[in-house]
């Protein structure tokens, strides 16, 4: 059959189109959670406290709190920690971050020896560190909730909001293998359901406090509160540098073809280089 009239042809096509569409599920509008920032968003950022520069940790306070403010370990965890301290004291420190895995959260805040910087962009606070292969935390400040379906990671899922000049961060979905550590050689896996609440604020012009409350029901008898202290630096020598942890396990060499290559360095079970005899 030939359709000669253009009007009839359009009508046929329209009917065909309706029938095709009616076979498909209704289309959902895409969920935009990262909208383009507005000029006002950038203006709003300028009203936040100044956290620019580089922040290095007060390690002597981390050391001191091992004795003055220990986590309320449950019986099982306490036994493991006690053994680890004994081993550390005897010169056999346990490797609690094997394979250069990230210190992760909350240990990054608790025991880091390295500096970090904190960046503000619309809807986001980003923390950049200097170890673990260039550590990074994304803290969403755009009112999004935690995901419905957990997707555990080393640093978990962090959402934050401002209460005055204090950034309040709530972090969940941290991998159960991630240790809660109080030193580089004493920490136990959180074993799941860990939640970390941080209140981050300037305690002085150039001193940042991170007040942590750690909920780790599988290893603690009650939530643990601690404050970690960071100092602001602006000198060139404090610029964050690339910190690829696994590079420490490799030596730079040139092979027979003249290519620059990495070769493994022999390490002891405690992580130090096997020294010559």
């Amino acid at each position: 059959m030939k359709i000669r009239s253009p009007a009839i042809l359009l009508a046929v096509l329209a009917i065909a189109s309706v029938s095709v569409h009616s076979a498909e599920p209704p289309k959902k509008a895409p969920v935009i959670i990262n909208p383009p920032p507005t000029a006002q968003d950038w203006v709003d950022l300028s009203k936040l406290p100044d956290w620019s520069g580089v922040w290095n940790p007060k390690i002597t306070d981390q050391d001191a709190q091992v004795k003055t403010n220990p986590p309320p370990w449950n019986e099982q965890a306490a036994k493991k920690i006690e053994l680890m301290f004994a081993e550390e004291k005897s010169g056999r420190p346990r490797l609690i971050f094997p394979g250069c895995l990230p210190e992760a959260l909350p240990s990054w805040m608790l025991i880091t020896h390295n500096a970090m910087e904190i960046l503000f962009t619309p809807g986001r606070v980003t923390m950049l560190g200097e170890s673990d292969g260039n550590r990074l935390r994304r803290i969403y400040t755009d009112d999004r909730p935690h995901p419905d379906v957990p997707d555990p990671t080393f640093h978990g899922h962090s959402i934050g909001h401002w209460e005055g000049d204090t950034l309040v961060v709530d972090t969940v979905d941290i991998l159960p293998q991630v240790p809660l550590a109080v030193s580089e050689a004493a920490g136990v896996p959180n074993n799941g359901d860990m939640r970390v609440v941080e209140r981050i604020h300037l305690a002085d012009k150039d001193v940042l406090h991170v007040d942590l409350e750690i909920f780790a029901p599988k290893i603690l008898t009650r939530p643990w509160k601690t404050t970690r202290i960071f100092f602001r630096q602006r000198a060139r020598k404090f610029d964050i540098v690339e910190g690829v942890c696994v590079q420490g396990d490799l030596a730079e060499r040139i092979n027979q073809d003249g290519d620059h290559i990495f070769v493994p360095v022999e390490k002891t079970i405690w992580g130090n280089i096997v020294a010559p005899k």
Binding site: G91, E184, K237, V244, V265, E266, W270, I273
Partner: protein, 141 residues
């Protein structure tokens, strides 16, 4: 030239260290070193490995004058912390430089390794330290 061949030989020895059991991790505590003791060696730099999280320095040196030089391996904190707290640079020393190294030795006295405390470059008198806790106030220059 003799000095150069010694350095090349020592690098080969360090390469020897680089073969064998697979590495486990670089991110570690330092209590395998006896921090209550300080020893000093004098010798020739073989290699400075400027890497995270622990810089290492290999030195062909002696504890006492007259001894046969032997290879020692020293470990430190990270490059960033050495720059900030100890005045280090990536080119602080180069292979062949004569140095004095003060260090805390490994508890295993059969091995020649330590945690470096102070490095002195003998030709210039330059001193580099390695205490990462010496940066605990704001606004450091």
């Amino acid at each position: 030239m003799g000095q150069l061949s010694k350095v090349v030989g020592a690098i080969a020895a360090v390469c020897g260290l680089a073969i064998g059991i697979s590495s486990v991790a670089a991110h570690h505590s330092s209590t395998m070193f006896d921090h209550s003791k300080t020893l000093t060696i004098t010798g020739t730099v073989v290699e400075l490995r400027w890497v995270n999280p622990h810089v290492s320095l290999s030195v062909n040196g002696t504890l006492k004058e007259g001894e046969e030089p032997a290879l020692w391996v020293m470990e430190m904190t990270s490059p960033g912390n050495l720059v900030r707290a100890g005045g280090w640079r990536r080119d602080a020393v180069k292979p062949g430089d004569r140095v004095e190294v003060a260090f805390s030795p490994l508890r295993d006295s059969e091995t020649r390794g330590g945690a470096l405390k102070k490095l002195t470059v003998l030709a210039t008198g330059e001193v580099f330290t390695a205490n990462l806790r010496e940066q605990e106030k704001p606004g450091l220059e």
